[in-house]
């Protein structure tokens, strides 16, 4: 297992080195990404400036959601984007080459690329999170900090799992991968705000089917010392981020099914 990680980091090193070869371009890409994602927060700020509050939530509290979601998404994008090239690989037959190597396909695909430019989204998420954390009237304890950290990890796993599922679709069709973007990018848009503000079917979708709530709304209840309107017991709020990790594990199983399908039908 440790050996697999070593190989993964070796792969990543290759990717990082080739990106750093174009240093200026990397800086430009990251800066551009920073601005492109940061304007979302600007929009949020404008709306709060105009409307003062969002139901029972203040800007500082919503900023907490924003920060966690963006950091989690940035990590997932940076790490799992190697799977993006996958549909091209299936079409061109390059995927066979991966199967001919005595390593798991997940390791090889994840190791293909670590997108450094995603640091743009990461940074603006970090800034917003720190601002929110410092401005909030919350008693910060080690436990709460750990929960924030766990939420980010859980979120990164969940988004990562969605990207893996999106790539897995390429085993069956090369066309409707766009659909999953509604859930990933749409998910980011959605989870930046507390889920309580949405319609019921929407809430249910993003709680049970694509469990965004597990690393945003539910942990936030514990962090902000709020009680839920839906009668959610306290321990759920603390344990919720593990759902994201489970989601990722399930995605890998689905991926394996996809590989099995590929191996019995050719390409």
């Amino acid at each position: 297992m440790r050996e697999a990680f070593r190989l993964y980091f070796r792969y990543i090193g290759v990717s990082i080195r080739s990106q750093m070869q174009y240093r200026a371009s990397f800086l430009m890409l990251s800066a551009g990404h920073f601005v492109a994602t940061g304007i979302e927060f600007l929009g949020m700020w404008v709306l709060f400036d105009r409307f003062r509050s969002l139901g029972e939530w203040s800007l500082r509290e919503v900023a907490l959601f924003y920060g966690i979601v963006n950091i989690a998404f940035a990590i997932a994008e940076a790490v799992v984007r190697g799977f993006d090239t996958f549909s091209w690989m299936v079409k061109s037959g390059e995927f066979d080459r991966l199967l001919l190597r005595p390593r798991s396909t997940v390791l090889q695909l994840a190791g293909q690329e670590l997108q450094l430019m995603r640091v743009g989204r990461l940074l603006q998420g970090v800034f917003v999170l720190f601002w929110a954390a410092s401005a909030l009237e919350v008693v910060w304890s080690a436990a709460k900090l750990a929960l924030v950290f766990a939420s980010v990890v859980g979120g990164a796993c969940l988004f990562g799992g969605l990207f893996v599922l999106q790539a897995t679709l390429a085993f069956w069709t090369t066309e409707t991968l766009e659909i999953v973007n509604t859930v990933t990018y749409g998910g980011v848009e959605t989870a930046q705000y507390p889920l309580t503000i949405y319609r019921r079917w929407f809430r249910r979708f993003f709680t049970f089917l694509v469990p965004l709530a597990s690393f945003t709304y539910l942990p936030a209840l514990a962090i902000l010392d709020r009680t839920s309107a839906y009668g959610v017991p306290a321990f759920v709020a603390w344990a919720a981020p593990t759902v994201g990790v489970l989601f990722l594990v399930v995605s890998f199983q689905v991926w394996k099914i996809g590989v099995r399908h590929y191996r019995s039908t050719g390409s």
């Binding site: 890409l29 551009g32 766009e178 848009e189 705000y193 503000i197």
Partner: protein, 263 residues
Amino acid sequence: MRAYWAVVSARLRMLLQYRAVALAGFGTQVFWGLIRVMIFDAFYRSTNAPQPMTYEDVVTYVWLGQAFLVLILWGVESDIRQMIRSGTVAYELLRPLDLYTFWFSRSLATRSAPMLLRAVPMFVVAGLCFGMRPPPSLAFAVLWVIATVGALFLACALTTLLSISLFWTISGEGLARIVPSLVAILSGMIVPLPLFPDWARDALDFLPFRGLVDVPFRIYLGHIPLEEIAPLLFHQAMWTAAIVLLGRWMLARGARRLVVQGG
């Protein structure tokens, strides 16, 4: 003119072929529209104070935004970027045609097709299902069409300017990535301009970007009184002209720079 139509119809046909992609993209946009509407709904319900725009207006505004998203969705045409990077643009400059006009009309053609293709079904779906309302009168509708055509020209002028900025390589590349995001927010696509803080209004009203989204959308809504529309169209046209002139000037400078630098 005929060349323009040829490119538009070719693009249309190409986009129609990728029907699954088009459908999925459409579905994504409907989803986004719904998210935005729900967010606005939650904000409006938080307060009883009167706002510069009514909720119903904002709903229509959001769907107009999805229909005409292509107006602010820019990338520099990848082959133009390649051309400038590799220096082969020098051949283009040698040709006996006006490179600026060529790039501009190309931009126009490649934007018109996706715009029509996305706007029509979005109007139908949003109008029937999601509470999108038609313009209050024929006068407003006609003026809206004029303003939208103006917005299209303005968008093309801006993207052509961005392409030309690539002559200055690195700084041009950075610009090409940052500017579209700034335009998105300053045009009113992310949040309608009337909802911005009052102290920002003067600057926002002066900048050209409102001509892309704010002006045509609010004409559609009847949010702008008829007598105030003409100056806004004028604002749009003047900025377009200014940016076109700037673009032409920069192209000449950039071409000279290329020749001096040796590509």
